[in-house]
Symmetry: C2
Subunit: 326 residues, 2 copies
């Protein structure tokens, strides 16, 4: 019975980031059995990255006394622009990868295991969809609020890439037609309001026109560094200015996600990334605007949720990519 | 050789509307071989609709001396809320269908041919995607500007429905957070600005604050009925107010479609429906805002186009639904 032989088959998920590379060995059901991480060495134009990944995988397979034939495949999430067919990456500047990297070829040769990859935001979306807040649904949208704002979309069970790989770029939805200039060259992108630096930008601007009593205002006036976290913490404590900042950020997030909802009617829109550490305090306020800006069917059937997998979303989603080899 | 036997297989497409029901017999490649239409009789709570469809199909199959076994299936686009699994329709008010209609069961029994259906906007999207401006692409969005604003989305080759069938409701994207009240109960829906009645609404409001010389202003001041068509025609002739109205409408359409582009990066976003009869004059202005509100990858790879199939989009898309029976 082939079914029995398959019971022990495993997936490997790799989450390649600018500072650390995370690894996990998972069952075919997506349960993490082993996980570890290594520092990402970006010296020499990132030439050590792939060899280090290969060594680390081989080392751990031997360490756990596993057999290469047990592994269905390796999936990886990476920054940069990915060619899904060829298994290459280009333009991952935080890895110093400026030229085309034949990642699939190198890792398959170095490990003897099939390999596939996608970009990091898509992979995190797949992870949260499969084993996290997405409840393995067919229509799930994931947005990550970190240094930037990224996202990934699963629609009718398929991860969307669009015609040029830009599907899911929710960070560049225009929420304020004459708003802040974005690094992408256009104005009013969600990323400029709802990323960690976006929240601080909103806080600085609102502080200039604020005249009441506020700890956040004091910090800014004293030239102290503020952060998205400080802003949310002060808002939770009732600071008037900080509350207004969170309200503004929630308005833009609520508007952008409402229109994603109005367009696609997913079962869940999941909010992850560092800024989402503000938790239910943020979620409730975003939800209020989301309900204001969605029409009834979507308001009643598309649910906003916080991500639940944290750092594991990447390795789990990456591993799910390898399921295509089953 | 089974391949030869299949060469003569046909599809039937039905486009059920509030005033006429259109029919076509198509090849498996989507070429229309015969088409006809009947009046839609909505008397007696729409009880005659399905029997009339059955009679018309049977009559034409006999008329063309065709054999039921030639037909792969019948697909239909319908107003109202569709249950895809059960093949039922409810709440199609322009058909007087207030209670659940077991359309699939009735038509399969009445014709002896397999039947499937979807809502009319989705079916038109499938038609334009397959044989029209969509060039049979995997990622195509269709928006129809008529009495209302509807839409349909094909993503990664799949027609999207979302968790409650509301995917593609681009008419309810919020384009003006404190804008016109919509029939859906929320403010600022695209439909309130870019439908035929929306254009007139914008014209009336802008006329109130307009003080220059304008034929459109004169018509309104004289209490004459104006239409979306009159507004566009006057704008083409250089009427100052009418030009401003078209600019405002194009701005909202450009913003909404840009954000659909930023989210999904389709190869084509196709604009159809009565208002799109304004043609390139409208398209160019929408495109200008679309480019302003999209980030570079989408700006360079997602193309706005006018629909090309006109009234045939419905029967062609409906027929494509029946391909699932192949």
């Amino acid at each position: 019975m082939e079914g029995f032989g398959n019971m022990d088959r495993k997936l490997i998920g790799v989450d390649l980031g600018g500072t650390t590379t995370k690894f996990a060995i998972l069952t075919e059901n997506g349960d993490i059995q082993q996980k570890w991480s290594i520092e990402t060495t970006i010296l020499d134009e990132g030439a050590h990255i792939v060899p280090n990944i290969i060594d680390s995988i081989n080392h751990h397979i031997d360490l756990y006394k596993m057999d290469r034939s047990q592994f269905v495949g390796i999936g990886m999430g990476t920054p940069g622009t990915v060619d899904l067919e060829k298994g290459t990456v280009i333009g991952a500047y935080n890895l110093n990868w400026k030229t085309l990297q034949p990642v699939k070829k190198q890792i398959e040769e170095g490990t003897g295991i099939k390999f596939t990859l996608d970009n990091d935001a898509n992979v995190a979306a797949l992870g949260e969809r499969w084993k996290g807040a997405g409840e393995n649904g067919n229509d799930v949208v994931f947005v990550t609020l970190g240094t930037g704002v990224g996202g990934g979309i699963i629609a009718d069970g398929h991860l969307l890439h669009g015609t040029a790989g830009a599907a899911g770029e929710i960070g560049h939805v225009t929420v304020e037609p004459n708003g802040y200039m974005c690094t992408c060259g256009k104005k009013g992108c969600l990323e400029q309001y709802a990323s960690a630096t976006g929240v601080v930008h909103v806080a600085r601007d609102m502080a200039e026109e604020f005249s009441g009593s506020s700890k956040l205002k004091q910090l800014l006036d004293n030239g102290e560094e503020i952060s998205s976290k400080i802003t949310f913490d002060l808002a939770k404590e009732g600071d008037t200015l900080a509350k207004s900042v969170v309200d503004r950020v929630s308005y833009y997030l609520g508007l952008a996600l409402a229109n994603v909802g109005n367009t696609m009617n997913p079962s869940f829109i999941i909010i992850g990334g560092g800024v989402s550490a503000a938790g239910d305090f943020l979620l409730k306020q975003v939800e209020s605007y989301f309900k204001q800006f969605t029409f009834p069917t979507v308001r009643n059937t598309t649910i906003l949720k916080l991500a639940v997998l944290g750092n594991d979303a990447g390795v789990i989603g990456a591993a799910s990519l390898a399921q295509r080899f089953i």
